[in-house]
């Protein structure tokens, strides 16, 4: 009975610790939600009332409106390009051997290691040298490189889990390489590609450090506009925008978990 009690006790301690740690991870988001509905311009806990005025200001502030549209444009192009390039590359790495494969793999995985400000600074200089400055093209290119490793990884894991016998079976039944790709490989890779695209889109939408370097006022994305605002004003407008982003992200995660499985997207169970 003693051992039983000890086991119970340590299990209780363990789960309390886990709950506390998760609380530490979650409290900032809750504080943002709380602040966003506060009527006061100054920080106060608990809020003295309930007001949606900061949401109104956030949604009508021209810089945010422009930045939001910019961000959507950049994200749409960047994540789609990233999906195309990343899927192709994952297929290449999984199926073919060719000279320089290792080098290519290392280069395309390196944006994970290279500090974002180094990447951003590099693309800023590159854009300036090519005389295309801080244009959409430069911003999109930066985001493609930054999100590529995630898409590649996600598609690669799906490819590894794909039974090669299925493709051979299709070939054996008379399907041409293109037909095999269209009728068998791609449909089976779809969940992995969807997961990769989702991760790419979320990262692109919220990317800040590199974007700070490669965007100008004209092309700035939402996080950059938010940063600029935080440096100038202290009112909770940013809390309102943040609350919207947090809510949006949480719902998206719930949906992704329901339909794609977060474990699979994040490759936790991958072998």
């Amino acid at each position: 009975m003693n051992a039983w009690l000890a086991t119970r006790l340590s299990a209780g301690l363990f789960w309390s610790a886990v709950a506390l740690i998760l609380g530490y991870m979650t409290i900032p988001a809750l504080v943002v939600l709380m602040t966003s509905v506060s009527p006061s311009e100054l920080l106060e806990f608990p809020p003295s009332g309930f007001s949606l005025r900061w949401y109104e200001r956030a949604l009508t502030y021209p810089d945010f409106q422009g930045a939001f549209v910019n961000g959507l444009i950049v994200t749409a192009f960047a994540s789609s390009l990233s999906l195309l390039i990343g899927s192709a590359f994952a297929y290449l790495v999984e199926r073919y051997t060719f000279g320089g494969r290792v080098a290519l793999e290392a280069i395309l995985a390196s944006p994970l290691i290279v500090p974002h400000f180094t990447t951003g600074f590099g693309f800023l200089l590159l854009g300036a040298n090519l005389r295309i400055g801080q244009s959409y093209a430069v911003v999109v290119a930066t985001h493609v490189l930054l999100t590529l490793p995630f898409v590649t990884r996600s598609v690669y894991v799906s490819l590894r889990n794909l039974d090669p016998a299925l493709e051979r079976a299709a070939t054996n039944l008379g399907a041409s390489p293109l037909q095999v790709l269209r009728r068998v490989t791609l449909p089976l890779l779809l969940p992995g590609m969807a997961g990769g695209w989702l991760v790419a889109a979320m990262l692109s939408l919220t990317e800040f450090t590199a974007s700070l370097y490669v965007t100008a006022q004209r092309t700035q994305t939402l996080p950059v506009a938010m940063y600029t605002y935080v440096r100038e004003y202290t009112d909770p407008t940013i809390a309102a925008i943040s609350a919207l982003l947090i809510t949006f992200t949480t719902i998206l995660m719930l949906i992704a978990n329901r339909y794609l499985g977060l474990r699979r997207i994040l490759a936790i169970d991958a072998h």
């Binding site: 009975m1 051992a3 039983w4 086991t7």
Partner: protein, 364 residues
């Protein structure tokens, strides 16, 4: 020897349910000191759950478990002193052979010198001397199996638990390991519980076999008894090949028992000492393929039945011949050699004799 007086393991009305599924129902079982007992049953019959409860990985929903005279129902796995060999061996990949085998002794804080000797002895027992410093990955499947065995026996467990330990080996190795397992058991004298779904393994290895189905024990018997006198229809058809005849009414006629089967067929057997068979009772007859024989020409033979050959399955040493025996249904007989394939081609009419004296007769 303590012998019959103190059993090694006792399960008393043990039940286990997972959510709505009852994996084990009020099961009672005694394992004798030093015997090799096999739990045999199809997958999902509850044998693995039973093993896990003995090791302490699952806690029974009801009932109690006694190992070596001590109630261990609420004792955690690490205080039970049961040595388990896992199906996938579960060798520690980050330790070498020696450290794997020594693990249990380290947990028991055995002195270094003594430990080295015990590990050496255990490795000798499984014929792995000289491989102590090998990494696990460098071992073949059969060698890993032996390390797992050595690791389990070195702690001198009160009961050795083997969870389908041969299933991961290829067929040739499995036969050899069976012999070695049996020899190891003779040498160590450890009470052993062996879990398998393979009836050949069970018949070949065990002192006694426990046949399980749907969380309940169907029969506990020696391999010989089990094959000759299965307690019920499940056991009869689970162990070996058997023909199940249509239900029959039986009565006694002098020294004979007479079975009347629908369709006007009458079969006879010598009266035997089987209390379950009473006059007028409905009975089920089970006959093994080796107890059905071909009858040549018009030679007299007991229980002659005409039938039509439907298939031959050549097995090398013998042929399994399938016949359509009219009201008796489809039967399978075992004929030595392969000559029967030419002698009684598919579609031909033949006569067979049913040796009911060796049949299994169960009350309905």
């Amino acid at each position: 020897m303590k012998g019959e007086a103190s059993p090694a393991v006792e399960l008393i009305k043990v039940s286990k349910s997972f959510d709505a599924v009852q994996a084990v129902r009020e099961l009672s079982l005694t394992i004798r000191q030093g015997e090799l007992l096999t739990l045999l049953g199809p997958s999902g019959c509850g044998k693995t759950t039973l093993l896990n409860m003995l090791a302490g990985f699952e806690v029974p929903s009801a009932g109690s478990i006694v190992i070596g005279g001590r109630d261990v129902t609420a004792v955690p796995p690490y205080r039970r002193n049961t040595g388990m060999v896992f199906q996938n061996y579960a060798l520690f990949p980050h330790m070498n052979v020696f450290d794997n085998v020594a693990f249990g002794l380290r947990m028991r804080k055995m002195a270094k010198f003594e430990m080295a000797r015990a590990v050496g002895h255990a490795l000798e027992m499984v014929k792995l001397e000289g491989l102590a410093s090998r990494r696990i990955r460098q071992l073949s499947g059969g060698q890993q199996q032996r390390v797992a065995l050595a690791r389990a026996i070195v702690i001198e467990p009160k009961v050795l638990l083997l969870d389908e330990p041969l299933s991961a080996l290829d067929r040739n190795l499995r036969g050899a390991m069976q012999v070695e397992l049996r020899e190891l058991h003779e040498r160590t004298g450890l009470t052993t519980l062996f879990v398998t779904h393979d009836q050949e393994e069970a018949l070949g290895l065990s002192d006694r076999i426990v046949v399980m189905s749907r969380g309940e024990i169907q029969q506990v018997a020696t391999p010989l008894e089990l094959y000759r006198l299965p307690a019920n229809g499940f056991v009869a058809s689970f162990i070996g090949e058997i023909n199940r005849l249509p239900p029959a009414r039986c009565r006694t006629e002098g020294n004979d028992v007479v079975f009347e089967i629908a369709g006007g067929i009458v079969l006879r057997a010598r009266k035997r000492n089987q209390p379950t068979i009473g006059a007028g009772q409905e009975t089920h007859l089970f006959v093994r393929p080796e107890h059905l024989t071909l009858v040549e020409g018009d030679r007299p033979a007991p229980n002659r039945v005409s039938c039509r050959v439907t298939a031959h399955l050549y097995q090398g040493a013998y042929t399994l011949t399938r016949v359509d025996a009219g009201p008796l249904g489809n039967l399978q007989l075992r004929v030595l050699g392969g000559e029967v394939i030419a002698a009684a081609p598919i579609g031909s009419q033949i006569k067979i004799s049913i040796d009911l004296d060796k049949a299994v007769i169960l009350a309905g």
